[in-house]
């Protein structure tokens, strides 16, 4: 492998690593020369506008896309070398509004990966009960269908489903984007507490600066497929980069900019 020497030291400790990764589709560059890594236990928030390449970045991690140039490594191994099914079952994935299967009950939604991994039935049932408690849902909801839940409950089920097989990596794409401000704030706080216990490698995509500041260890700002800055969350707001300034000002010019 032609890994630049500067990266070799990080490979062991990085759960996810982008090594000069680019992605092009139909002649358009959606992601340009991304260098970024996330360690186990760390929460990285990808911040940026729509079309800035955040979702493309996530899809490169679970091999829904393969890089056109450069490498994306998960646990030190290039995604192209992974069996995509094995890779994805080790990565929890949460999307806006849960992305739940409408024809499955809450229980079957949560048990999706354990079931296809052929866990014993008793283990599956115990795990579902445990997860419902973890995400703060009543056990009685297990037999409901997604359309019978509120938006916040669906989102909690989405988080529980992603955690079901205890994957070391969690990726969330605008996970709380469809929620009302109060539920959203609750979910953010609970997720932060959850992550402090779980210590997974988390990549969280959002366009909401306050959400980023609340959840992140590090914030990576993206614009037009490029990484603009990658800073510890505490330093982000102090950055003098004009794009960071624009972001900070957009969020401070209104008392409640949701």
């Amino acid at each position: 492998m032609n890994t630049p020497p500067s990266h070799e030291r990080d490979i062991e400790s990085s759960a996810i690593e982008f090594d000069h990764a680019s992605f092009r589709l139909n002649g358009r560059t959606l992601l340009q020369d991304l260098v970024l890594s996330v360690k186990q236990g760390e929460t990285l928030v990808l911040l940026g506008r729509s079309g800035s390449g955040k979702t493309t970045t996530l899809k490169l991690i679970n091999r829904l896309l393969l890089p056109s140039a450069g490498d994306v490594r998960v646990n030190g191994r290039r995604t192209a070398e992974w069996d995509p099914i094995r890779l994805r079952r080790g990565i929890g994935y949460v999307i806006q509004d849960g992305g739940l299967f409408p024809h499955f009950t809450v229980e079957r939604n949560i048990a999706l990966v354990p079931r296809i991994e052929n866990w014993p039935q008793a283990c599956i049932e115990a795990r579902v009960r445990e997860l419902l408690a973890t995400v703060g849902l009543n056990q009685e909801l297990a037999s409901r269908y997604p359309s019978q839940l509120s938006g916040g409950q669906r989102q909690r089920v989405g988080v529980a489903r992603a955690l079901a097989a205890d994957p070391p990596i969690l990726i969330l794409d605008e996970a709380f984007g469809a929620l009302d401000p109060i539920t959203r704030s609750e979910m953010q706080k609970e997720f932060r507490a959850l992550q402090q216990r779980m210590r997974k490698a988390v990549i969280f995509v959002t366009h909401d600066l306050r959400e980023a500041l609340l959840l992140a260890d590090r914030i990576a700002l993206m614009e037009e497929g490029r990484l603009i800055v990658d800073l510890p969350a505490a330093e982000f707001s102090r950055s003098q980069h004009p794009l960071v300034r624009a972001y900070v000002e957009a969020f401070s010019s209104f008392p409640n900019p949701d």
Binding site: P84, P102, V113, Y145, S147
Partner: protein, 214 residues
């Protein structure tokens, strides 16, 4: 003799022809589903095939039914018996709604749900059988319903090539200029079609509700 008296006097024959009619239409619809549903799935996986397959099924549909019977007559084995020929012709007509609805049903499954499934590590086969087909089943059964009603109606013409069915009464009545005899074929055929429509319609609504189960 009025219509009801005619039906009562000939009830055994009415019953036999109705059963024959159901067999023709039923076997044809079943065969069409056996071929049409997998073809519909195939063209969601190989999009380049969707135009030729749907186009081909469309062209078959435009061939006048009597002409299609005529074209198939010289075929070996098939042409030997009127019923074989009729079943093949009816199945060919029933193909289009089944292919089209299977294709449309799978394509209309919420892409976010499919992508979530893929991202969770479902294999292509698991995605098809656990997510796409269950969520498309309402639309697929709607296609089955169209195919069944179409086959029951068209099967009346099968009598023209000696395949039997309720068309026997209709053709006989036409030759005799006797409306009672025509009705003895037309009314049970219409009732059969309504019955199939009703039963499959209920199934369709039940499966359709999987998309937003409550």
């Amino acid at each position: 003799m009025n219509f009801l008296q005619f039906m009562m006097a000939n009830r055994q024959q009415v019953l036999d022809l109705t059963l024959e009619h159901m067999t023709l239409a039923g076997v044809a619809t079943f065969l069409a589903a056996l071929v049409g549903i997998p073809l519909g799935i195939l063209i969601t996986r190989v999009p380049q095939l969707s135009k030729p397959v749907l186009g081909g099924a469309n062209i078959i549909q435009t061939i006048p039914s009597l002409a299609l019977f005529g074209f198939l007559l010289p075929a070996p084995w098939i042409g030997e018996r009127g019923s074989r020929l009729a079943i093949l012709a009816l199945a060919l007509y029933a193909l289009l709604p089944l292919i089209r609805n299977t294709y449309a049903g799978i394509r209309s499954v919420d892409p976010a749900v499919v992508e979530a499934g893929r991202a969770m590590g479902l294999t292509d086969r698991q995605l098809l059988f656990q997510v796409e087909l269950p969520l498309a089943s309402g639309v697929i059964v709607a296609g089955l319903r169209i195919a069944a009603v179409l086959s029951i109606g068209l099967a009346t013409i099968a009598a023209a090539i000696g395949a039997g069915g309720l068309g026997e009464f209709i053709f006989r009545g036409l030759a005799m200029v006797n409306n009672q005899v025509i009705l003895a074929g037309a009314v049970p055929a219409a009732l059969l079609a309504l019955f199939a429509d009703f039963v499959l319609g209920r199934l369709e609504r039940r499966l359709g509700s999987l998309r937003s189960k409550s």
